[in-house]
């Protein structure tokens, strides 16, 4: 173990991953650059899911909706209000934070399957509002935005802006889960009654963790608004939350960086497989089942176990 708390191998892997994300876009066609951009954005969503699912032991099914709230607000600000995209993104993140705080107040009392169901219901409320409040959200048709500034219209410059943002976000999240606060969350995951008897305010910790996850989901949502320039109810639908969760689990829940692997695997597979068969969803389903059987800790988790076994 080095001083900063990650094994040297891990550090090397992280640097290698970051370097790959920095260099590869220079050598691939523009379409793949846009896919990589999407991977980065979804990795942030998956990491925010991981904060709750992996570190605090509560699986949320509403972060996709919070992500979408930010997208909606950003697009609404730039299209209907004709405002600046950067202000729009700030407002989007603020809106996501507010929604996350309200949801947190409602959800932190519950655990396990009740937490999953409650967050699912809360997410569905957002979806319902976006679908039916036609005068503001455009209903089923969604909103066509004007978010992407001209200087970022090309895929490559936009990719590097997102890349820079994601590096900063990832570092912040990593510090967050490594902090004493993050350790407390892990304690709550393992036994909240023990943490409570040790004098920790579990509800407050959960509230903060939920809100922070919401902020990061909101950042991802604002970036997504700029990426797609369009938003419709499918962005806040349940599938969005599930996708984020699947990425976190595929990569390895409780590993944070696994989210990048998960996002890359899922988006990459989605794109590659759908080239060859329209039954790509079946292929994805089989892939998930295989991962759950052979690497229930996710890809990164599986690699770690393997390495540990070799050393031991």
């Amino acid at each position: 173990m080095s001083e900063i708390g990650i094994p040297r191998l891990g550090l090397a892997a992280i640097l290698f991953g970051a370097l790959a994300f920095a260099i590869v876009p220079l050598f691939v066609p523009t379409y793949q650059v846009s896919i990589l951009t999407e991977v980065l954005i979804y990795a942030v969503l998956a990491m925010s899911v991981d904060i709750l699912a992996g570190y605090a032991g509560r699986t949320p099914l509403c972060l996709g909706a919070i992500f979408g709230v930010s997208t909606y607000v950003t697009v609404y600000w730039t299209s209907t209000m004709a405002g600046s995209p950067y202000v729009g993104m700030m407002l989007g993140i603020c809106a996501a934070t507010l929604v996350a705080m309200v949801f947190a107040l409602l959800a932190i009392r519950t655990t396990g399957v009740y937490f999953i169901l409650l967050t699912l219901a809360l997410g569905m409320i957002i979806w319902g509002i976006c679908l039916r409040w036609t005068s503001v959200t455009g209903g089923e048709n969604g909103l066509r935005g004007n978010v992407r500034p001209v200087e970022l219209a090309a895929h490559l410059p936009f990719y590097y802006v997102v890349f820079a943002a994601v590096v900063v976000i990832t570092f912040a999240m990593w510090r967050f889960v490594r902090s004493p606060f993050g350790l407390t969350l892990r304690g709550i995951r393992d036994s909240d009654s023990r943490m409570r008897s040790l004098g920790y305010n579990v509800s407050l910790h959960m509230f903060i963790a939920f809100t922070v996850a919401g902020i990061f989901a909101g950042v991802a949502g604002a970036l997504y608004a700029m990426f797609n320039d369009f938003v419709s109810p499918s962005t806040v639908a349940l599938t969005q939350s599930v996708e984020g969760l699947l990425m976190a689990i595929t990569g390895g829940a409780g590993t944070l960086f696994g989210s990048f692997i998960g996002a890359l695997a899922i988006i990459g597979l989605e794109n590659a497989v759908s080239l060859y068969t329209e039954r790509w969803q079946t292929v994805m389903g089989v892939a998930f089942i295989l991962i759950m059987i052979f690497a229930p800790e996710g890809i990164l988790g599986g690699i770690r176990t393997l390495l540990a076994r070799k050393r031991g």
Partner: protein, 418 residues
């Protein structure tokens, strides 16, 4: 599914699979026109998406895979009935597969998402199915053209006029609560009330409503002369069944949007659908010789009557072919190609009439008032009973003044106060 249909589906899937993989026919030199065809092959409207691909393919097969004298490679992509996915697929077709044009999509939200994307890069995008009014009205995008399609409010207007001529004075509407439904109801209500009729009530229900009894009970008690219904897919089937079960059939005449009695709906229905009247450009039961031979050819190839989806994509393909011919197949020159598409007058379409585009990229049609009847083979189809020539998306209005009114929504239905 019996073994025979299973085999057929399998063969059809295999055929599409071949088309779908862009690497199969990739390296055919510069002589190939690449067309990106997007359709929802998975998700809630997958059946319609399948018929879209079939319709397009049927035309290409008839022409030996040629368009404007050049070989055509059709790259089929599934949009999953989801706008985010449609966007991603559009990006892939344009940026990776290098297509010359995009065509397709079924749901308005997928079409609007793709339209916003092509606005930025000028890629020609054709929408034979997407009916959202605004794409060829207030928010027109130059390179988005509705070849062989129609707008939501276009056909209900002649239907409203026809209703007034039958002496109906008081109407009610029931519709799925989304833009496509609001536009159709808006077209009907505006023309109906401006012609002296009145609207006694409007009902909006969510998509996928299984029980219509609360609405039917209220509709029955309004004392109206006619009911206009706008339903698609399974909602249409359920609505017409429950309308009959409620005893309203035969009591209050039922008219509606063309989607309600499309082949994709009435194919599986019985006598409860008979007698429903809608307005549309296409009627598979039309006695016109070209329509007859198209319907027979479709029957022979796919063992069913063509639906709106198949017909529109077939005509759309024909339209692009005709346009490409006038510029010797040089579709790479986008401006020339789009201009050719706008100028093209489609003479050979299965409609049996010449079709041309208005100045806003939307076709002008002779509209049939059509009625669901049982044909000689004992199957239900739509037979024309009246005809309105040259109906554009603006009906009798001046386009400029028309577009000054707000777009149709739940709150604005163009109802004239009397």
């Amino acid at each position: 599914m019996d073994r025979r249909t299973f085999l057929k589906t399998g063969v059809a899937l295999a055929a599409v699979g071949t088309v779908a993989s862009p690497y199969v026919a990739r390296a055919q030199g510069t002589g190939t026109i690449k067309i990106g065809l997007m359709a929802p092959l998975t998700g809630v409207v997958a059946a319609g998406g399948r018929e879209m691909v079939d319709g397009f393919q049927m035309y290409m097969d008839e022409k030996g895979g040629m368009m404007g004298g050049r070989k055509v490679e059709v790259i089929v992509e599934d949009d999953g009935a989801n706008p985010d996915m449609a966007l991603q697929k559009a990006r892939r077709l344009v940026e990776q597969s290098g297509v010359n044009m995009l065509i397709g999509n079924l749901l308005a939200n997928t079409g609007l998402a793709v339209a916003n994307y092509v606005k930025g890069n000028g890629m020609p995008y054709f929408i034979p199915i997407i009916a959202a009014d605004e794409l060829t009205q207030r928010n027109r995008i130059k390179n988005v053209v509705r070849v062989a399609g129609y707008t939501g409010s276009q056909f209900p207007r002649p239907l409203a006029d026809w209703c007034l001529k039958q002496g109906y004075k008081k109407a009610a509407t029931i519709s799925q609560d989304y833009t496509f439904g609001q536009e159709q109801c808006g077209g009907f209500c505006q023309t109906f009330t401006e012609g002296g009729g009145s609207i006694a009530g409007q009902f909006w229900h969510p998509l996928n409503t299984s029980d219509f009894s609360p609405y039917l009970g209220q509709l029955a008690n309004l004392g109206v002369d006619v009911i206009f219904a706008m339903e698609t897919g399974a909602d249409a089937t359920r609505f017409m069944q429950q309308y009959a079960n409620f005893g309203l059939k035969g009591q209050i005449p039922l008219v509606g949007a063309m989607n309600m009695t499309d082949q994709s709906v009435i194919r599986t229905m019985g006598p409860e659908a008979e007698g429903v009247i809608v307005a549309a450009h296409f009627a598979e039961g039309s006695p016109a010789p070209v329509t007859k031979s198209f319907v027979e050819a479709h029957m022979k190839k796919y063992n069913k009557y063509p639906s709106l989806y198949g017909f529109s994509m077939y005509s759309g393909a024909m339209w692009l072919d005709e346009a490409a011919k006038t510029i010797n197949g040089n579709v790479e020159d986008r401006d020339a190609f789009l201009a050719a598409v706008s100028k093209t007058q489609l003479t050979g379409s299965p409609l049996g009439q010449t079709v041309k585009l208005d100045d806003y990229g939307n076709p002008i049609y002779d509209v049939h008032i059509r009625k669901v009847v049982k044909n000689a083979d004992g199957k239900l189809w739509n037979a024309p009973i009246a005809n309105y020539p040259n109906v554009s998306q603006f009906w009798t209005y001046n386009p400029t003044t028309y577009m000054e009114q707000p777009p149709y929504s739940r709150t604005f239905q163009g109802i004239k106060k009397s």
